[in-house]
Symmetry: C2
Subunit: 194 residues, 2 copies
């Protein structure tokens, strides 16, 4: 099979994260992520991977409808950079699939640092050689978790899953998303405060 080729998706081929595996394990304990959550996400991925694009489309629609969120995808002409938007999208979808399917190991850790950097002046616009604003402010990464968490619950309910299963998947998803954001915040944070 192999994975579909996604431009700029360099999982397994990025620098080693400055965050240690020990710090990752401590963060996993903090969010409360367990082996059962890992198994739950893996199982959920078998029927959610195909929905990942629809979920991302929903989030991007929300982003597009709020000027303070949409502006980070604008070019120098103050209009949406459609090339950038379409380049970013499959990688956004892939992040969802990775959360469901990948072990949270060194490769995953490294790639979360890369994703964080790609939202900051260090690496934003580099991958796609674009000229959008040089940062997505941290406050929006943190705040946007709310719709990202809620939409997955509604999606699972709409699929008709039993309430207990919805609760388990949603809890595991919540832990994984907050773990991701905690890691992405690293390059934004002042020395010694991360």
């Amino acid at each position: 099979m192999g994975e579909p080729r996604i431009k700029g998706y360099e999982y397994g081929h990025v620098p080693i994260s400055p965050v240690t595996l020990k710090e990752l394990k401590e963060l996993e304990a903090t969010v409360g992520f367990t082996d059962q959550d890992r198994a739950c996400l893996k199982q959920a991925g078998t029927f959610l991977d195909d929905d990942a694009e629809a979920l991302v489309d929903g989030w991007r629609k929300t982003i597009g409808s709020q000027p303070h969120l949409a502006q980070w995808f604008f070019g120098p002409d103050h209009r949406p950079d459609e090339g950038y938007k379409s380049a970013v999208k499959p990688r956004f979808v892939r992040w969802v699939i990775d959360v469901f399917s990948r072990p949270f190991d060194q490769a995953w850790l490294d790639y979360q640092q890369e994703i964080g950097l790609r939202h900051t002046p260090a690496k934003k616009n580099k991958t796609d050689r674009t000229a959008t604003p040089e940062v997505v402010p941290l406050r929006y990464l943190i705040a946007f978790t709310a719709p990202v968490l809620e939409s997955v619950r509604r999606h699972l309910q709409a699929k008709g899953l039993p309430a207990a299963e919805v609760d388990h998947i949603h809890a595991a998803w919540t832990k994984a998303v907050m773990l991701s954001i905690a890691l992405w915040s690293n390059p934004y944070t002042k020395e010694g405060l991360w």
Copy 2:
């Protein structure tokens, strides 16, 4: 009636936040916080205010059980600073009650900045004249939202509330918590990246 006196709780008497009301409104839109969410939290507060201390006790038990979380409450002797812990607790409880009951206005905005600062070298230990570590790292503030969100859902379910009401309160709580953390992250963040 009046509010019970809480040492170091200075709501309405702290400096004006560098975050503007416009930025607050944009963050409220980002998390998706609506007038219905405000009304829902206010209503939930009428029966959850009395539970706020039990919720906080549960979170602190979780914190105490994880050395990487507990250490930020330690004194120079590498043991829990019980004076600090007991000074902080009623303010933590009050944050929960404030989320349920206060309007997200200038006073609330100002106080979220104060709370953020009190987790960083700028103001940690100042209020209680303690000598604990000078920061609670940002990654733990972000990651610990997962148990804070999940425990409220379980608490509401244990109270026997109808599933739809649990969902609504939990969604509103999620939005309010992520809004709080987005604001608390301000003093941690590098110039221009917040």
